[in-house]
Amino acid sequence: MPRLPGLIKGLGVTARTAGRTLFPKRGWKTLIPAPQKGAVTVQYPHEKEAPPDRARGVIALHEENCTACMLCSRQCPDWCIYIEGHKVKAPPRREGGKPRTVNMLDRFDIDYALCMYCGICVEVCPFDALFWTPEYEYSEPRIADLLHDKDRLGEWMETVPDFLDYETGSEQKVRKVPR
């Protein structure tokens, strides 16, 4: 049956936490209650938590780099990337050359209702056309509206943060985001 110490200790923990939440400030300011500062929760619509730079929020498309090679679409485990494209003739790179055949991207849709945010498409892209951005506010009331086309994906390109430096001891090279 209840002995005192354990029960009292428990009361102490909750009281301490309440105190820390209500009076988070130090020194004489301790007396001013500031729960907004002491609470760990973020009051979402008023203030927004910044996700880490690597956060996989949404996939942005840098359209100029995309060659419609279909790699991402084929590697996608959920079959949620739809690409259509056609070939066009482009002028040669240098004078006297032959005209080149390049791929033009007509459609690049990602169905975020299906997407599992695994990042395989970003990883397999050989031309640096797909990037993760921590942007997360793109919910839709209807599930069908979650199919985003290449214009929308392109808009997110602005929110792509630069790649982070690595911790010492790493041999990875820091990549650059095309702007």
């Binding site: 049956m1 029960l7 428990g10 009361l11 923990v13 909750t14 009281a15 936490t17 309440a18 820390r20 939440t21 209500l22 729960p35 907004q36 002491g38 609470a39 760990v40 929760t41 009051q43």
Partner: protein, 342 residues
Amino acid sequence: MTTLLALPYWQETGIKLGLALAVIPTTSLILVYLFLFKMMAFMQSRLGPNDTGPYGTLQLIAEAIKFLQKEDIHPEQADRRVFRMAPVVVLASTFLLYVVLPAGPDAVVQNLDTGVFYAMAVSSLSVLGILMAGWASANKYALLGGLRAAGQLIAYELPLILAVMGVVIQAETLNLQGIVEAQATGEIFGFGAIGNPFILTQFIAFLIFMIAAQAELTQTPFDMPVAETELVGGFHIEYTGFRFLLFFMAEFGTAFAFAALASVMFLGGWWIPGFDVDDNILNVLGPGVMLAKILLVAFFIFWVRFTYPRLREDQLQKFAWKVLIPLSLANIVLTGIFKVVF
């Protein structure tokens, strides 16, 4: 009895009744906002409601409106009449409790000579409502919850009453106003400036009273009848909307009433040191003093509620019959001896 205003009996009663009716929802609002919303949130490093109104004070109004808007659902198998009556019975018990709670020399709905007896009797009425709810819901969880509540409330009614007995013996009256007066005019070894709050002489009784009240109010660690994680709400599992609101109000209204009883019987009630017990000004200041004391007691009730896990039903019964009741009996014996000796 000196009255504040010389009014006919029916007018006076009408005013008091109206006040009491207004007080009950308000008190549960205060408790819910202060403790359930804010204190619990702070204890958990959260903010609690803070968007509706200043510091979220209007959240409760929103909640009440939400409950009122909801559809009134009966389970198909439910015993409809009993199902509907149950929350009313529970709330009625709460309302009846408020009748004898004094907030000043005259600020009381009815100053009964057997006030303590009446309060104890009326508070156990809620068991009936809970049993009715548990039975009529036609739900196994609700039934288990109702039966647990019945067992628990009966088990804890005894130590509650026995704890109060000590106070009654010391005060030599069953009248709550009399108890306040006894504390106000009492002396501690000849020192009478702060009277003699019975918490000093009846500390064991106070502890037992608080523990038993915790069980009566079905607050953690004695909340098996509702036990969200086992019985998913127990007896009120099937209640929605307004009827659930009634249960909810009754829960917090009763908590307030028990806190008031504790402060009347153990903390000196509405009396302020330095004033005469009959002083008319206490009718104005008394409610404020009472409120402060009640909030202090309620703070402990809810502090314990937010900190502790819950006991098992059999452990609770063991605790009541093997620890609390012998203790409170011993307390009565001791009080009696002291009463005779001094």
